[in-house]
């Protein structure tokens, strides 16, 4: 079980006074493009410097090294990036079940990344993140370029992962219906500032 608490996280373009994601819960974020949603997720993941504190369970981020924190709180970027020629090289503990959940057999591990479509890469990026066994996921529009069935696959896998590991997730989504499906609460972001919780 893992929960995430954000306190006074601040950097230019990011201002999140307080945000809490409970054990196995998912909270959604939304806002116009350029409002700083990705910046907030990056700041939480400690990819960008920010003042304030983030807690994973009852441990403060400052008690982790940068890499140790990011291994627990994994940021999944809107556009996935791959640094090696083949899929397999990007993780050591690929889970067959996760690959299957996003629509692939294990043979995909031997495929060349270059030959994958952007949608395929996006789905694999989620399986890749899960292969590192995170405690929390920061999902930046994980189904932005996917069709209906594949969007459902992503949603189902995150739901399954939360239920089985107790991990929690922050999910950026433009789609109000999707937010209602995947998250228990939803918050707006305007000009970098996290607003009050949306009415259900």
């Amino acid at each position: 079980m893992s929960h995430l608490r954000i306190e006074h996280l601040k950097r230019p373009g990011v201002d999140a006074a307080e945000l809490y994601v409970d054990d196995a819960d998912c909270v959604a974020l939304h806002g116009p493009s350029g409002s700083g949603k990705s910046m907030l997720l990056r700041a939480i993941a400690d990819l960008d410097e920010a003042s304030g504190e983030v807690w994973l369970d009852d441990r403060p981020r400052s008690g982790f090294s940068g890499p140790a924190w990011r291994r627990q709180v994994i940021y999944v970027a809107a556009e996935s990036r791959w640094w090696d020629e083949r899929v397999r090289a990007h993780a050591t503990d690929w889970q067959a079940a996760d690959l299957e959940a996003v629509g692939f057999g294990q043979d995909v591990l031997d495929w060349e990344v270059q030959r994958l479509s952007s949608g395929e890469r996006q789905r694999l990026a989620l399986a890749r993140a899960l292969a590192y066994a995170p405690s929390a996921l920061l999902l930046d529009e994980p189904s932005a370029n996917l069709d209906g069935p594949n969007t459902e696959r992503i949603e189902a896998l995150v739901r399954h992962w939360r239920a089985h590991t107790g991990g929690c997730a922050l999910w950026v989504s433009h789609d109000a219906e999707q937010r209602a499906r995947v998250a228990s609460a939803s918050y707006p972001i305007h000009a970098g500032t996290l607003g009050a919780r949306d009415d259900d």
Partner: protein, 267 residues
């Protein structure tokens, strides 16, 4: 060293050779190649610099003052450091921009020169400028190229592949893992010139120093041995310098929490 076979060049000999450069500049101007002006400026620079060096060395050789030798070595290093910085498209901000290249050249060129003077050439005194200055010059000149190419490659590729680097950081990889392949590529690029010149030495190209010694009347085998010594020293110096530069540079591209710091680079 035998000097009896040394043919002394007259000003007229040099003027004739310079005339060829003038001719080339004229051809460039006629064909609108746009390199004539740069060519003339470079030719004038090399004339002034080399004649000045000749004068300085003449003065140095006559009294062998260690402080003067140290001063000249410092000037050579300072200029090489500036050259390395000027050859980079994206530089590290602040003192790191000048310091990274200069420090790595200092560590490699100076230590290799001192090592060679103490263990191989063993002149008396060990700082005898007749040996120290040419040796240091050869080492600095070549190390400079290696360091400049390595650093330029490192910063360019880091900017180019910053999203791939951050993809690894986001999965919890430490900075050294996230930049390892870029670091390797940058080092390789810096070492290719010296590997190439060792490979083709004596077959495709007659190395400049050996040519000079032969023209100055040295026996060919002695010239070959000196050239080999210099090639090995250059290879070691370039390798050491490039390794230090790439390590320092890639260290500076991240902060204490292993974040990629784009803002530590210019451009």
């Amino acid at each position: 060293m035998t000097t009896d076979k040394l043919i002394i060049l007259s000003s007229a000999d040099l003027a004739l050779a310079a005339g060829l450069v003038l001719l080339l500049a004229a051809v460039s101007w006629r064909l609108r190649l746009g390199v004539g002006k740069g060519m003339l400026i470079a030719a004038v620079r090399s004339t002034v610099q080399l004649l000045l060096l000749g004068l300085v060395l003449k003065a140095l050789f006559s009294n062998s003052n260690p402080w003067l030798v140290a001063a000249l070595a410092t000037v050579m290093l300072a200029v090489a450091g500036y050259e390395v910085m000027a050859r980079q498209k994206y530089r590290l901000r602040g003192p790191w921009g000048y310091g990274t290249g200069t420090l790595s050249m200092f560590l490699s060129s100076f230590s290799i020169t001192v090592l060679a003077l103490f263990t191989m050439l063993q002149p008396t005194p060990w700082y005898d400028p007749q040996y120290l200055i040419p040796l240091l010059g050869m080492l600095l000149g070549n190390t400079m190229t290696g360091v400049a190419v390595s650093l330029d490659n490192l910063t360019r590729q880091t900017l180019d592949k910053r999203h791939e680097i951050e993809a690894r950081l986001a999965l919890g990889y430490p900075a050294t893992d996230a930049i390892s392949d870029i670091r390797r590529d940058a080092l390789r690029a810096g070492l290719i010139p010296i590997v190439n010149s060792m490979t083709t030495a004596g077959i495709v190209s007659l190395p400049g120093m050996m040519t000079g010694q032969i023209l100055a009347g040295s026996p060919p085998m002695e010239a070959a041995k000196y050239q080999l010594l210099i090639l090995f020293l250059i290879a070691a110096g370039t390798g050491l310098g490039s390794v230090v530069a790439v390590m320092l540079g890639s260290h500076r591209l991240f902060d204490s929490r292993s974040r990629l710091r784009r803002d530590h680079l210019t451009g």
